[in-house]
Amino acid sequence: MTAVDVRTAPDTAGQPERHRRKIPGEVGIWMFIGGDMISFSFLFFLFLHYRANDTAGFTASQAHLDQNLGLLNTLLMLTSSWLVASGVRFAARQRGDLAARCFLGAVGCAAAFAVVKAVEWGGKVADGHTMSSDEFFMFYYCCAGIHMIHVVIGSGVLLSMAATVRRSKLAGNEQRNIESGATFWHLVDLLWIVLFALLYLVGQS
């Protein structure tokens, strides 16, 4: 028995892949992503709210950040997302070997992201800017820390995806899980881009 999506299979059999599935993954993962975006939006709103009360203080603290390191991390995140998207495409064509390499490459980007963050945080702490220095640095550490938890969880998901596609043939539900995992990784990437804009760029001319 070949596993097919029971909800759409009967009337769409024989149609190309892109017509057969309306959304990547399954409804549940989009609910998760919607929920996570709501909570990060709340965090972003809090940041802008506190910033509005002390714009000068926030701008002064923000000047201590190295935008190049933030940009480097943005490029690492974008590269990882591109690798994950390519991996999903290879997996759909049953090229598990290439897909696994893409997913592992994305984990490599995530590891590099963490190293850059550690170097950045280490430098800030050495300069005396800790998470209790002021409100800007409170958000700087807490928001990026909450995002880093997502990076760690996402890396675990990518590793399990790499292990799954290594197996010769993907069952329908495995293909769906790969898409769900990839969708989560794109969220991790997207959240960082917003964080980069908020923490490093907002208010800088």
């Binding site: 299979a9 399954e26 609910m31």
Partner: protein, 264 residues
């Protein structure tokens, strides 16, 4: 038989669907409703009586904390009495979910066993809070304010820093739901993702250690309001999901009974 979404063959160790042990849904329904009772007792006791929603600011001085307990001592005693009962329902509520997790698992029910141990320990943290508040409101006039400040901080730390076992239970629920291989899933699959989401969302609670003011302090927008809405909202949603599963189980039992009656 309907086409399964999975290619997994049923294990021959698993009984056919009709042979699974019936669940006493009348008891489980009560247990699921006890989650709603927990939330109501929280609103009435901690919100209206004790006025601890939101918590007193961690930036308050020791004397202000002492005065607060002296002023509210009677309301705190009544409130903690109600809350001791209400918070005990965390065990009955969570076990109503675990009963259905047993249905989802095949072979050795690892997640079910782990959840039983986890929740048995977890609800002790719940009970510790009203007990500590009651002790503080017992003779607040004679207590050293500095001591009261430490004890007051401690209750909120018990409340908020004890998030990991509760988040892990959500992960166990998610693993059981997403691994459910029954032809008709016991809980819908979105419940699995919902539990993963809530597990991730209550992580920022850990930040209460670092701040006495702002969104991450124990009275803050994120570490208090957001985490509380997520956690107690989770209880309400899971009570609803479990009650729906009870209804499905009753229909299954009725169908099996009807078939047995026709065969006899």
């Amino acid at each position: 038989m309907a086409v399964l979404e999975t290619t997994d063959e049923p294990s021959r160790l698993d009984p056919p669907v009709d042979d699974v042990k019936p669940i006493n849904t009348r008891v489980v329904r009560l247990m699921a409703w006890s989650g709603v009772a927990l939330v109501i007792s929280l609103v009435v006791a901690q919100g209206l009586l004790m006025r601890f929603v939101p918590p007193p600011s961690p930036a308050m001085s020791a004397q202000e904390i002492a005065d607060l307990y002296i002023d509210r001592k009677l309301a705190i005693r009544v409130g903690t009495l109600i809350e001791c009962i209400g918070f005990t329902f965390y065990l009955t509520f969570s076990m109503s979910i675990v009963v259905f997790m047993r249905r989802m698992e095949r072979g050795m029910p690892v997640l079910t066993y782990t959840s039983m141990a986890n929740n048995g320990g977890g609800y002790v943290f719940f009970l510790l809070m009203p007990i500590t508040w009651a002790a503080l409101a017992f003779r607040p006039e004679t207590l050293d304010p500095a001591l009261m400040q430490i004890a007051n901080d401690y209750v909120w730390f018990v409340f908020i820093l004890s998030w990991p076992p509760f988040a892990l239970f959500m992960v166990y629920v998610a693993l059981a739901v997403l691994g459910d291989r029954n032809p008709t899933p016991v809980f819908p699959r979105w419940v699995g993702f919902f539990n993963l989401w809530t597990a991730v969302l209550i992580i920022p609670a850990g930040l209460v250690e670092f701040y006495t003011a702002g969104p991450f302090a124990y009275d803050g927008e994120l570490s208090f309001w957001f985490v509380w809405f997520v956690f107690f909202g989770w209880i309400m949603v899971m009570s609803g999901v479990t009650l729906r599963a009870c209804k499905a189980e009753e229909e299954r039992q009725a169908a099996v009974a009807g078939r047995d009656g026709a065969a006899a």
